[in-house]
Every structure is written in structure tokens, then in C-alpha cells.
């Protein structure tokens, strides 16, 4: 903690840099659908379950922790988080590792 390595510095900068690539690309969709507002992102059922988990305050704040760590904390504190979430995150594939707000706030 006391020392900051060069690598650590770079990580911090990267962390605070706005992620321009990802995030909600509203403008594109609006033009594609001729003015009708699409507030929904493209995500599937699995992502929906994980987002519900992110938004559940019983398991604590989600910003700054990845989904697996947050699930593990909830498990360690005896909060009985849904097993489904752990399975989905560990399965990899299309589902996100980071929480819903990562890169958006």
C-alpha cells in the first residue's frame, strides 16, 4: 500500500478513463429505428438475472466490485445469494464479469 508502482499507476489511470467504446449507444439506435426510443440494451435472459442481482441492495453496493466477488462476499456474510448467479458468472461466455454500472458511471 505504501508504495505505488508504475504498473499500479497505469491501472488507476485506466480505471478512471471513460470507456468510450462500450456503454449505451443511444444515438445509433434511435436513427436505426426511425425515431422510436429504444431504451433497452441488447441483453439476454442470463444477463437479466445478473442485473437483478446487481440491483438487489440486500447484497450490498455493487459499484467497484465484480459480480463474482460480490457474490462471494454475500455468501461469506451468510446472505444466501442465488446459486444461479455464481454458475452464470463462472460459466463465462456472453455474460459480463463486471456489474451493471461498470463503465457507465
Amino acid at each position: 500500500m505504501a508504495t505505488t508502482t508504475k504498473g499500479g499507476d497505469m491501472k488507476m489511470k485506466g480505471f478512471y478513463r471513460q470507456k468510450k467504446g462500450s456503454g449505451v449507444s443511444k444515438s445509433k439506435k434511435i436513427s436505426a429505428s426511425h425515431g422510436s426510443l429504444h431504451l433497452k440494451d441488447d441483453f439476454d435472459k442470463q444477463e437479466e438475472i445478473l442485473r437483478q442481482f446487481d440491483m438487489n441492495m440486500a447484497y450490498g453496493p455493487c459499484i467497484g466490485m465484480n459480480r463474482l466477488n460480490r457474490w462471494e462476499r454475500a455468501n461469506k456474510l451468510g446472505l444466501n445469494p442465488p446459486k444461479e448467479v455464481e454458475r452464470l458468472v463462472n460459466a463465462g461466455g456472453k455474460v459480463g464479469v463486471e456489474c451493471l454500472w461498470d463503465g457507465r458511471v
Partner: protein, 441 residues
């Protein structure tokens, strides 16, 4: 040859003890910062403390329902558990200097940030509610305490507090039975390198501990010292040398001079008996609690001895199964800034009853952003609870409802008072070791 053997049979043997460090919980080397904020540590604290409080509520107010803040109903008596937030008029805020509005905040401040208009707010995951009534006094509590409150919602939307439940002293292991006197010596605020520190005074302390002073009677006492703990602020670095430029080569040696001097003192102690050193505010360690051990490279002489342990602040350990817990003083100093008490011992006693040694972290006391635990939570009650760098030496024996016995000790700054503190681990009796170089008696 025969003479020498005779000599050694008359030599005093230093008493031995079994030491066990319990600092693992204060280490941050396994933590990885991934951008989390302090909401996480408050969540962990609330969850862990609430579990304790809920188990106590059943015997405290068995007839009352337990609510969340959102579930409060007008006029219905219930119990709520949450984290306290103290709204303070005088608390400095970084935004103050940018606000265009001229506020009525006085320029000359009293000794702390208390104000008669301060009030408490209780919050949990669901919401927050302003606390009213005369039962709960804002001057006793600080932001970050977790408590259970009995009361009801008033028509003004406040929560009228009728009774308060704190977690109380944690469970304690029984004091081991021992018939031999053994002492642990505490010293803090050596401030080597400070203009007011007297090198002769520190040397007298070292010579006393190592048994080089006094007659046989005094040496017998010295031989019963089994452990020495240095509770922070051992050096005062000449910060005047920092001017935003690179340090000149000649200033490098000036800067490290106090640490070299300290190393010489510590080497003498470590050669004689086990020694722990904790970092403090003025030491070259990280700022945020838990402060990590001072690097061994700072003490090339002392670190050659395996009796030397550089440890964390807060520091927890056992000597012959007697449990010790203490800090270099930051937690209690911060409580003094944001709450009131007659003496420093009262602050210490409160932290024991709150089961939390540093409730003001992370609000007004720097602290690492832990996510899944709160290392400042006291899971087991110590037998000796010490705080370093206080203005005067004080001690008190606290008795808990379940027969817990805790010796509270305020260790004074050695460079100002010349006082170190010795605790007898047989019976937790405690006395001051005063040194003076004043010759007019």
C-alpha cells in the same frame, strides 16, 4: 575460570513468555483495489453489527417488533437498527471554500467540532430518519456507530428515541492463572529527532528496560519485563526539508538521521528482550488505518534480531494467553474532535461498548476501503486495551456484564512526559515508569 562460573550463577535471568501475533486481520497485502468506494465497508459493518444486535434485541425488548427505516409507521413503537450519522454544523467540508454563500460558521473554532445544534440520523439500506428526544445525546455518539434504538415515529417525521442498545463488550476468554509477575512495557511518542526530545531520557528508558540501571532490586524488576511495545510516533522527520524540489544529497542524511538514532536505541532493546514497534502519525508509514508495518530496511541494526517485530497499527497480540489490543492514538484523537467526554478513558470505554475501535473511519479518519470485512470490529474482548500518544498517563479497570475484565491504558508521549507504562500480566495491575534528567530535586 571458577570465578566466572560463580558469577553466572548469581546472574538474574530474564523471564520468558509466549508471544503470538494477531495482526493478520489488519494486513492489507491481500486486498486489491478495484475502484470500490467506502459504501462497502459501511455495508459490511452494518451487516456484521446488525447480526450481533438482532441477537441481543430478543432479550432486550422481546415484546417489540423490529422494523427497517422504511417500514416505520406513525406512532408505532418498534426497534430499528442502523448506522448513525451525525450532522455537524462545524464539521469542515471541502466544498466550503467554493460556496458563494457566506455562512455563519465562526472563524475561531473551539477545541473540537461540536455544536449545540448537531443532530443524529439513523440509516440502513432502506432509508434514513432524523432522531429526536433527549434519550440519545449527539455529543456521545459519532458517525459510523451501529446501534439499536427503541422508539416511535412522530408526526414531524422524526424518530423519537426511548431507549438505546449498544453491542456491549465482546466475549472474553478467561484470564489465565499465573502466579509469577511478568510485565509488558508500553512507550509511545519517543519522537527521536524532535527539538524537544531529550536523548538522555530515551537512553535511561532503554538502560532501565535492559537492566543496566540501578541496584539489584531494580534489576530484579527489569528482569520481569518480558515484552516492550512502542505505540507509534517514534520519530519526527524534519519535514521542513521538503520544498517541492529534489532533496540535495546532504539533506538525505539529515532526513534519515532520526531513524538511524532510533535504530540504535531499538537495537539495544531487541538485544535484551522481544520488542514490537507500531507505526504512528509521524512515522514513515502509510496514512490510512490500518497502518502497515514499518519496513525492516529502516532498521538495519534491529532487524538482525528475531526478537524485533515491526507490526501494524492497530496492533493485537497475546503474551502468555493475555490478549492485548491497541492503537497509536488516531482513533481516540478523532473521537475527541467529533464528540465529547470527560477523559480519554471514557472514549476508550465507549469504543469497547460499541465493539468497534474506530467508528469514525472512514468518515473522518483515513482507512483502507475494505469490501467484505471491517477489521476494526472487536470480535473478542482484549484484557489490555491501550492507546498511544495521549497527553497524560491514565488507566482504568473496566468490568463487563459477563465478567469481562479490561485494563484501559492511555500511554503518554514519552518525549514530553518521560513516562512509560508497565502492565503486570498476572493481575492486569499497571504502573508508570517515570524518567527524569532534572537534577534539582
Amino acid at each position: 575460570m571458577a570465578m566466572e562460573i560463580d558469577d553466572s550463577s548469581n546472574n538474574l535471568q530474564r523471564k520468558q513468555s509466549l508471544y503470538k501475533s494477531l495482526d493478520e486481520t489488519f494486513g492489507v497485502e491481500r486486498e486489491r483495489y478495484t475502484g470500490q468506494q467506502y459504501s462497502q465497508i459501511y455495508f459490511a459493518r452494518l451487516h456484521l453489527m446488525r447480526t450481533i444486535l438482532y441477537s441481543l434485541v430478543d432479550t432486550w425488548k422481546p415484546h417489540l417488533p423490529v422494523c427497517t427505516v422504511l417500514g416505520l409507521e406513525l406512532g408505532k413503537e418498534c426497534v430499528i437498527v442502523g448506522t448513525l450519522y451525525k450532522h455537524m454544523k462545524l464539521k469542515p467540508c471541502v466544498l466550503d471554500e467554493y460556496s458563494k454563500e457566506r455562512t455563519g460558521i465562526p472563524l475561531v473554532r473551539p477545541h473540537n467540532f461540536m455544536h449545540p445544534e448537531d443532530h443524529l440520523v439513523l440509516e440502513d439500506e432502506s432509508g434514513r430518519v432524523k432522531l429526536g428526544g433527549t434519550v440519545i445525546s449527539p455529543s456521545l455518539f459519532v458517525t459510523g456507530n451501529v446501534v439499536a434504538l427503541h422508539g416511535k415515529e412522530t408526526s414531524a417525521g422524526d424518530f423519537l428515541v426511548q431507549d438505546i442498545l449498544e453491542a456491549g463488550l465482546p466475549p472474553q476468554e478467561e484470564l489465565p492463572f499465573d502466579t509469577k509477575d511478568k510485565y509488558v512495557v508500553f512507550v509511545s511518542g519517543l519522537s527521536v529527532g524532535c527539538s524537544s526530545s531529550n536523548p538522555l531520557l530515551s537512553q535511561l528508558l532503554v538502560d532501565h528496560i535492559t537492566g543496566h540501571l540501578g541496584d539489584e532490586k531494580e534489576q530484579i524488576l527489569a528482569s520481569q519485563i518480558v515484552h516492550v511495545v512502542i505505540a507509534g510516533n517514534s520519530v519526527e522527520l524534519p519535514t521542513g526539508l521538503f520544498n517541492g524540489q529534489y532533496l540535495a544529497a546532504k539533506d538525505h542524511s539529515k532526513l534519515s538521521m532520526p531513524i538511524k538514532e532510533l535504530d540504535i536505541l531499538l537495537t539495544q532493546i531487541a538485544a535484551a528482550l522481544p520488542l514490537d514497534i507500531m507505526p504512528g502519525t509521524s512515522d514513515p508509514a502509510n496514512f490510512a488505518l490500518p497502518q502497515q508495518p514499518l519496513h525492516r530496511c529502516l532498521f538495519p541494526g534491529t532487524s538482525a534480531y528475531n526478537t524485533f517485530v515491526s507490526c501494524t497499527n492497530p496492533h493485537s497480540f497475546e503474551v502468555d494467553s493475555v490478549r492485548f489490543l491497541g492503537t497509536s492514538g488516531q482513533n481516540i484523537d478523532d473521537l475527541d474532535r467529533y464528540s465529547n467526554a470527560e477523559s480519554r478513558l471514557d472514549f476508550m470505554e465507549r469504543t469497547l461498548r460499541w465493539r468497534h475501535i474506530a467508528p469514525t473511519a472512514p468518515n473522518t479518519l483515513g482507512c483502507y476501503p475494505f469490501t467484505d470485512r471491517d477489521p476494526f470490529l472487536m470480535e473478542k474482548c482484549p484484557h489490555v486495551y491501550f492507546v498511544g500518544n495521549q497527553s497524560k498517563y491514565e488507566n482504568r479497570l473496566v468490568k463487563g456484564p459477563e465478567g469481562q475484565l479490561v485494563r484501559l491504558i492511555c500511554i503518554p508521549k514519552f518525549c514530553e512526559s518521560g513516562v512509560a507504562v508497565a502492565v503486570n500480566i498476572r493481575n492486569l495491575e499497571c504502573h508508570a515508569l517515570s524518567f527524569s534528567t532534572d537534577l534539582d530535586l
